[in-house]
């Protein structure tokens, strides 16, 4: 299965996207990326192509628009005036590919450092060519226009600039925010990311499909298994294969458990930022029990690499049901105890209610997905709107907020953990016996007995390890409801065992783009809570 794309001329791009948004209902810009055709076997019209991925407002349909750029003029009209989410997406394409977007408000590097020369995702940029960075930028080039637009002056209005991060206890990783303060109130803010840019996409172009699985673990490291599953599922859809039912049920159980773990970390850290340290113990300890279960199953606590293209490494172990039931009980206990302390707690409620609310239309404009979007009252969850893996046959609810403030974002996560545990319990009852891997020797590794016992099995393994799983030529965008929102993989295959290009659509990237805007006019201490409630995971955001 491959995605259908509409090819456009670069001159008509802006008007076509505008038409798609206003008349056809494609109101959600998922991602913008580019493809460098330099190494393609079949020559194409131009070296660079831009890909725009849009989602319909019913949240079912996806549309890909493709624009070929002329070799002499690497520029195109920016669509940042149509979609808030296009701002950072275009900056990333500029940074990685060197394509200029006309009329973009602030076209500068975003992932790579300011002293970087060249554009790393171009095919002629060597993967190992690192460049040292000697100083960090002061970000005043972004702050100055923000202050000017608000008619503020540093000296006359007695503003103070505060720099938060990139190494700051409440910055949850490597996020940097520069805030201009009037007293305690933030009047303007700018964010800088890229401190954890680890070259995921370039690494993908140099490894075969199964070798990419460990890299996906480290995107959102709080729910590593989900990234495994999302990537494997996308490639399997390209191959047009589906897992046997037992494999699918194992994936459902593990994704929902990962979602619970992810939310536990987010809430534990968020409440810790607020001073609620007891909550941290209650929420973090059952997570350790879940990791004990995962390490017994996969051999690793955090980065499991349990999935493979076409299935997983091995079946569940004997007695997993009682272990998992035990974990679920402990998680339930932790959540109950934590909720006892905060539900009617005036400090908790007053502190975060009506802080940094995001309306439904704003959230869609920013490209929010997942719990953050649902907190704003938008009924979008891929498990409901475009169900995969039998999700339509489970009895669970979509959790929706009403205001979209920090309180809603946190409470949606609390309730989603209950819903996920409902799914796990049902799946544990319904899980069938049988095979777990796709019965296709071009995709699934042979058993160890046949590798060591016969030439055919050995050759089969050799071919799969050296060449990788051969994916038919074409391009595909696959989406998955991960813990933080829509985790998408846009993969271009040239028919070989190594992808020609992989682009992740990371939910946190778009949440972070909105962060400096939504913390404005709130206090600095509120911004810390807002960051915690958005659950920015740097590994996924910076890739």
């Amino acid at each position: 299965m491959m995605s259908k794309t509409i090819t456009l001329e670069s001159a008509t791009l802006f008007s076509t996207i505008k038409h798609a948004k206003e008349a056809l209902g494609f109101t959600f810009l998922l991602d913008i990326t580019a493809v460098d055709n330099l190494n393609k076997a079949t020559p194409s019209s131009g070296r660079f192509e831009l890909i725009y991925i849009l989602r319909h407002n019913t949240f079912k349909e996806i549309q890909l628009y493709k624009v070929a750029l002329g070799d002499e003029d690497l520029s195109i009209e920016s669509i940042s005036s149509l979609f808030g989410s296009a701002d950072w997406a275009e900056r990333e394409v500029y940074d990685q590919y060197g394509i200029h977007f006309q009329n973009h408000p602030m076209l500068k590097r975003i992932l790579n450092h300011n002293e970087f020369v060249g554009h790393p995702l171009r095919k002629d940029y060597e993967i190992t060519k690192g460049q040292y960075c000697t100083t960090s930028q002061d970000l005043m080039d972004e702050m100055k226009p923000l202050l000017d637009a608000r008619k503020l002056d540093m000296n006359k209005d007695e503003l103070m600039i505060v720099n938060l991060g990139p190494s700051h206890p409440a910055s949850h990783g490597t996020i940097r925010t520069l805030a201009a303060l009037d007293g305690e109130t933030i009047v303007a803010a700018a964010a800088e990311i890229g401190y954890l840019h680890r070259g995921f996409e370039k690494s993908c172009e140099n490894h075969n499909y199964n070798q990419i699985i460990p890299y996906t673990d480290r995107l959102n490291y709080c729910s590593a298994l989900m990234n495994n599953i999302a990537f494997a599922k996308t490639v399997e859809e390209m191959l047009d294969v589906t897992l046997p039912d037992r494999g699918i049920f194992i994936r459902i159980i593990l994704s929902e458990l990962s979602r619970v773990i992810d939310h536990l970390v987010c809430l534990a850290a968020g409440l810790l930022d607020m001073g609620g340290q007891t909550n941290y113990w209650y929420l973090f300890n059952p997570r350790n029990d879940a990791y004990d279960f995962l390490s017994k199953l996969t051999g690793a606590r955090l980065t499991n690499s349990y999935m493979r293209i076409g299935g997983m490494t091995h079946d569940l172990y004997k007695g997993w049901e009682s272990d998992l039931n035990d974990v679920l009980k402990k998680i339930d206990f932790g959540i109950t105890e934590s909720l006892k302390m905060i539900t009617h707690n005036r400090i908790y409620n007053d502190r975060i209610q009506n802080v940094s609310p995001v309306s439904a239309s704003q959230a869609i404009d920013y490209g929010f997905t997942g719990p953050n979007l649902r907190a704003s009252g938008v009924t979008y969850d891929l498990r409901f709107t475009d169900p995969y893996y039998y999700y339509d046959s489970f009895d669970f609810n979509m959790v929706i907020g009403s205001v979209g403030d920090t309180y809603d974002r946190m409470m949606v996560r609390f309730d989603e953990m209950h819903e996920s545990m409902k799914i796990i319990k049902q799946a544990m009852k319904r899980i069938p016996s049988g095979e777990i891997n796709v019965p296709n020797k071009d995709i699934t590794m042979p058993s160890k007995e046949s590798v060591y016992g016969g030439i055919e099995g050995m050759m089969n393994q050799f071919k799969l390890v050296i060449d990788g799983v051969k994916v038919p030529e074409g391009e595909y965008y696959g989406a998955f409801e991960a813990a933080n929102g829509e985790l998408g993989f846009y993969i271009v295959s040239d028919g070989s065992g190594t992808p020609y290009k992989v682009k992740v659509r990371p939910p946190s990237f778009y949440h972070m783009a909105a962060y400096p805007k939504i913390i404005e006019n709130y206090q600095l201490a509120d911004a810390i809570m807002t960051l915690g409630s958005l659950n920015i995971i740097a590994g996924e955001m910076d890739r």
Binding site: G173, G194, L196, R198, V265, A269, N285, G539
Partner: protein, 172 residues
């Protein structure tokens, strides 16, 4: 405290060497600054939480200002963009100071052998203990803390450490 070669003067006075007293104090009160960037930082959170409980080894006073800390725990991938920040934080820490590189990325760049990842933090700052793993289990991080404690007992107590170290960002 090693008191084997001391004399008891009545019960009130204990004589020992100043080195012994200093290292006795130091080993029981390491104050870590966690430079957590990625997956390893999540495992450090586990190390600090009640199950593994780093405070059993006297290193639970996590400082968020480098000026209060004497143990730098670099947990996670350090990119070229992050490197000057790491250097700045290391320089801000007062002597004596020790550094633990947690995980494959901090030690060598790990499997991120690419254009954006620093190939080991020892290109920038001196490292005392390397912890293998991707990410290492909490027990491995605790073991590194114990290693530092053993190491500091052996070292001269009043000298600035690592004076001959020259990092890639030292002359720029």
């Amino acid at each position: 405290m090693d008191l084997s070669n001391t004399h008891m003067l009545d019960d009130a006075v204990v004589t020992t060497t100043i080195d012994t007293v200093v290292s006795w104090g130091r080993e029981a009160s390491l104050w870590p600054f966690v430079f957590g960037t990625a997956c390893c930082a999540i495992e450090f959170m586990s190390t600090a939480a009640s199950r593994y409980d780093i405070s059993r080894f006297g290193a639970e006073v996590l400082r968020f200002s480098p000026r209060h800390a004497d143990l730098l725990v670099v947990a996670g991938t350090v990119s070229y963009k992050q490197a000057p920040i790491l250097k700045q934080i290391y320089d801000q820490m007062p002597e004596p100071k020790w550094v633990i590189a947690v995980g494959a990325c901090a030690c060598t760049g790990g499997f991120y052998d690419n254009y954006t990842t620093l190939q080991g933090i020892d290109e920038i700052i001196p490292v005392d203990v390397y912890v293998a793993g991707c990410p290492p289990r909490p027990e491995a991080i605790l073991d590194a803390v114990l290693d530092i404690k053993r190491q500091l007992k052996r070292e001269p107590k009043f000298e600035v450490r690592n004076t001959d170290f020259k990092g890639k960002l030292d002359d720029v």
